[in-house]
Amino acid sequence: MADPTRRDYSLIGLDSRLAVERGLATAEWYKCPVDRKTMKELMKRSDGPAIRDTLLWFAFLAASGFGGWWFWGTWWAVPFFIVYGVLYGSASDSRWHECGHGTAFKTRWMNDVVYHIACFMILREPTVWRWSHTRHHTDTIIVGRDPEIGVQRPPNIFGILIQLFAIKSTWATFKKLCIHATGRLTAEEKTFIPESEQHKVYGVARIYLAIFAAVAVWCFAIGSILPAMFIGLPTFYGCFMGVFFGLTQHAGLDEDVLDHRLNSRTVYMNPVFRFLYLNMNYHVEHHMFPMVPYHALPRLHEVIKADCPKPYSSCWDAYKEIIPALLRQRREPGWYVKRPLPGHVEPLGAPPPGLVAAE
């Protein structure tokens, strides 16, 4: 029998049906008021910032990769590969994300090229993730609807720790690549990938597997893992910063509310982190107005911050809340951190019965 204290996070289970019945699926979400003129200014696209940030990204990848190759066989290679790994396995997360929204560049093909490169680096199948992320934006942290709930309750702390090295996600992706390469999708994927798009999944899965096979053969042929240190392995050894950033987005906050101010965090970060993370630290802003490109999010933040909970002053400030919250949710899965709203508004949506907010 199903455990009544556990919610069903699958997209085809009980909570999925309940979310639809309770009007939480494809629902109306709270939006901070922003006048049309200001919003048009904020939504404006331009290629400049993303070209600059992409050239810098590639330049840093090339420089750190060169250092790793040059010093290969000595300890000096380690710091270079750490930098290379973070740029490859962590910075690709935000590039995948921004280009997937089509907002990073003004020019569509530039978004598409960087999207595919970043998807490969972070090992996210482009079509699958385009559609899963679409659902994540429609039904953010709605149990049974959102395929991208990073920390389910009760949190699996061991799972989070091994994910610092992409073990969980890569294992899951490899299993799916094998399924997709044979021309099939999982039952859950069929709920969010329309039929007209499904064929794209199969071709890309075959290409990914072929690339990994080629790198493996190359490594065997020369008797060294050096090629894999550049292609493939950085997804693992460079993932930890992506997880560090990603956990700040929603972990420990409320589920099943139709207000991004209650289920997402905006965290102030330093310029290096913001370059790696492409301003996704303004996560409430991004979810509420996904049309606004990453380079305009700090401006959007200024416009709506009076109508939002106080942002976290640093990563430390956020983690001071996240770590105890996750540990407590291990014992009390119904507990969550309640973000104080600026007073005059009530969140949309009703919390599921039995859930308790933090005081």
């Binding site: 494809t26 048009k40 089509g102 907002t103 429609t138 996904p290």
Partner: protein, 109 residues
């Protein structure tokens, strides 16, 4: 044989109510429409809701001849209604538009 569909012209708004390269929402008889003014000063009308998840396109961004949906950034060519790729897969319905005495009229069937 060609069949003609009777069109009723409905006064939607003043032509200068829409900025160049912008869109406004127009509700009429329980239906909602989006009326566009292109950068070269031509007017177009489509259904007002995105074909993906029924979001008002008038909150989106007009770039040249494209309207980008505010929810998941799906894009349509508002002149033809053509969906320009994931996550929008179904075209938008379009309506004829004419300008008379500074007013925008849309032809509804």
């Amino acid at each position: 044989m060609t069949s003609t569909i009777a069109v009723t012209w409905v006064d939607a708004c003043a032509a200068d109510e829409i900025d160049e390269e912008d869109v406004i929402r127009f509700d009429h008889a329980g239906r909602t429409f989006a009326i566009f003014r292109s950068p070269d000063d031509a007017y177009f009308a489509t259904d007002g809701l995105c074909t993906h998840e029924k979001v008002h396109l008038a909150d989106g961004l007009v770039m040249d001849n494209i309207i980008e949906c505010p929810k998941h950034n799906g894009r349509f060519d508002y002149r033809t209604g053509a969906a320009k790729g994931a996550p929008v897969c179904v075209d938008l319905k379009t309506y004829p538009v004419r300008i008379e005495k500074g007013r925008v009229l849309i032809g509804l069937d």
